[in-house]
């Protein structure tokens, strides 16, 4: 098991390096000069060259990549071009804020999705199943930013029971475990949870139906096991498939949603990316994307490891 763990972690390294290269290259592939935002209009060629040297943009691309990645592994992602503050001090709090929102949305979405999916899978073809299918289809098809705006209109504007934006009193950007912060969390978390809820409900339903068709389920009934024990078998067999999809959803939510965070002015990574894109703040963009893509890699690794714990057949492969 330990050997498998080490091997899996080792496999992840080339993926992480590849991802970081793509992160780096993407920015340089984008049209336009990354420095155009900071270079004053009508600046002399000497000034432009000076600025370029200051940011290291005069070096060849491979050198720039190695310098960037070397500093990045030491926690130095450079300075924000707009705020002149270290990228890490901008990205760090944003990541935490997005995580808070993601955890809330995931709890809500996965809980709802798993519950509905199991109910539908166990009653395939029944009215319950049809209702769940309708709910999950609308969950994935309704645009979540639109739902966010609808929620704001209903609960903030018309009913006035929940705040419409921000994550605390007076636009505070730090989260406290108090009633005010929790109230700010409710609407964006609901808006973020509908897509994972729909996707998870569908995949749980499909997997449960598939598992219930297996011969070994008939054996369990032939052994006279009570329904709750059969359920344990169904869950353990369905878990690896569902976990893979959950991992992807979780990674996506941790990436933050530019649209939902912008609608609710939630100071997370999505909000930060949005700002960085419009201000052409290259170091912030690179740093944020790199951190987020490492989340993806890490979560995929975790899902792989969990799957191998649940299904003994995976370790052999």
């Amino acid at each position: 098991m330990l050997l498998y763990l080490l091997r899996r972690i080792l496999y992840t390294l080339p993926i992480a390096i590849g991802v970081s290269m793509v992160c780096f290259a993407l920015i340089h592939l984008a049209p336009g000069d990354p420095l155009s935002a900071v270079i004053p209009e009508g600046a002399s060629p000497e000034v432009i060259a000076q600025i370029k040297t200051a940011y290291g943009f005069d070096q060849p691309l491979p050198i720039q990549y190695f310098n960037w990645i070397w500093r990045a592994v030491q926690g130095d992602f450079g300075m924000s071009i707009m705020t002149r503050r270290p990228v890490l001090s901008e990205v760090g709090p944003a990541v935490v804020n997005t995580m808070i929102l993601a955890v809330a949305a995931v709890t809500l979405g996965f809980g709802l999705g798993v519950g509905l999916g199991i109910a539908a899978g166990y009653t395939a073809g029944s009215p319950i199943d049809r209702v769940v299918t309708a709910i999950s289809v609308s969950g994935v098809s309704v645009p979540h930013y639109w739902l966010g705006m609808v929620l704001i209109v209903i609960f903030a504007v018309n009913l006035g029971v929940l705040p419409a934006m921000g994550m605390g009193a007076q636009g505070s950007a730090t989260f406290a475990l108090d009633w005010v912060s929790l109230r700010h969390l409710i609407l964006p978390a609901i808006a973020m949870s509908v897509i994972p809820a729909g996707i998870i409900a569908r995949s749980v339903r499909g997997t449960v139906i598939e598992v219930l068709k297996q011969d070994y389920v008939q054996t369990l009934h032939a052994k006279g096991l009570p329904g709750r024990r059969v359920f344990v078998h169904v869950v353990k067999n369905a878990a690896p498939t569902v976990l893979a999809i959950m991992g992807l959803q979780l990674a996506q939510l941790l990436g933050g949603s530019i649209l939902v965070e912008t609608v609710f002015s939630w100071p997370g990574t999505g909000f930060l990316l949005n700002t960085a894109i419009f201000t052409r703040d290259l170091p912030i963009l690179q740093g944020t994307i790199l951190v987020l893509s490492m989340f993806f890699v890490a979560i995929n690794l975790m899902v792989d490891l969990l799957q191998s714990v649940l299904d003994p057949r995976i370790k052999r492969a």
Binding site: D215, Y216, Q218, T219, A222, K223, G224, P226, N237
Partner: protein, 323 residues
């Protein structure tokens, strides 16, 4: 001696239909038999003859679309009217089943030990560790080598023969009085088949279980069974002791079945298959279902389904030509 006991298993006029919105198939059409403790019966038939469905009906292990009629009495219990909870207590403890394909019939993500122990835990109400202890006893009973180690093995880590032994151990976990086996050796290699059959025969005798084995393999049938029932289109067409049925088959279908079987003594002789194919169960003829394929067909066969008549002592056949 057997006649004086109340039979452990008594099936009377069992019918099973599969009903859906646009389909109504009669799979089992009036099967009756009794079985005493310690007796082994074999139900022989082609695929689709209703033999597996008959077996599953005995513990009501059928999909919701199945409609079961007739009387099923096991150990004095009326299985057809049993409440769900009582049915669950009957399954696995009074009656248990061995399936054809141990690879798919065992849960791939639980160890053999856990899968045996959980039956014991739920039926005998003991702790999990007591269940595991019983599981070890059972693995030794079915002669699995280095049993303590196999307790923690997953099904995919065992060979086909060992998997089927583990399946048998699981079926025996709660000391059933009736053991049902659905083609228990079909998925195994020929050499392993013999070992499993000998093991089943020995366990059945040692533990005094009533056993019903469903198979299409004549070799299996004559190896393990005292009684034999030949099934065609959802009905028994011939019943009797294995020896009588094998030596003097009376029904034309039984004869055809024996003639179309390959064995060593017939090297060089041409095979003699039964012409035609089994009837469509959705549209059974009013008369004898075998008539269209029967070499001894006469117009009277189409009249009505013949009754089971005693053709020799304790041997019955369903054919109008049989005396």
């Amino acid at each position: 001696m057997v006649e004086t006991q109340t039979p452990l298993v008594a099936i009377e006029d069992l019918t099973v239909r599969f009903v859906s919105r646009d389909l109504d198939i009669s799979v089992v059409n009036g099967v009756s038999f009794t079985l005493a403790a310690g007796e082994a019966m074999c139900i022989l038939g082609e695929s689709g003859s209703g033999k597996s469905v008959t077996l599953r009906a005995l513990m009501r292990l059928l999909p919701p679309a199945a409609r079961v009629g007739g009387k099923i009495s096991i150990g004095g219990l009326d299985v057809t009217t049993l409440a769900d909870g009582d049915l669950r207590r009957l399954r696995g403890s009074l009656v248990s089943m061995i399936f054809q394909e141990p690879m798919t019939a065992l849960d791939p993500v639980f160890t053999i030990g856990t899968q045996i122990a959980e039956s014991v835990v739920f039926h005998d109400g003991v702790s999990y560790s007591a269940g595991r202890k019983r599981a070890l006893e059972l693995l030794e009973l079915v002669q699995i080598p280095s049993a303590p180690r196999r307790l923690d093995a997953y099904p995919h880590e065992l060979s086909g023969g060992l998997r089927q032994r583990a399946m048998i151990a699981m079926a025996l976990a709660c000391r059933p009085r009736v053991l049902l086996a659905d083609e228990p050796t079909t998925a195994l290699d020929a050499t392993v088949q013999i070992q499993i059959l000998l093991l089943m025969r020995q366990l059945q005798r040692d533990l005094g279980m009533a056993t019903i084995i469903v198979t299409h393999d004549l070799g299996v049938a004559c190896e393990v069974a005292d009684k034999m029932a030949v099934m065609y289109a959802g009905r028994f067409v011939e019943t009797g002791s294995s020896v009588d049925v094998m030596e003097t088959p009376r029904h034309p279908y039984t004869r055809g079945l024996f003639q179309s079987t390959v064995h060593g003594g017939m090297r060089g002789a041409p095979l003699d298959p039964i012409p035609g194919s089994p009837p469509d169960l959705a549209e059974l003829p009013p008369g004898c279902a075998f008539a269209p394929r029967c070499p001894a067909y006469e117009p009277a066969c189409d009249g009505r389904v013949p009754d089971m008549v005693e053709v020799a002592r304790a041997q019955f056949a369903r054919c109008i030509r049989c005396p």
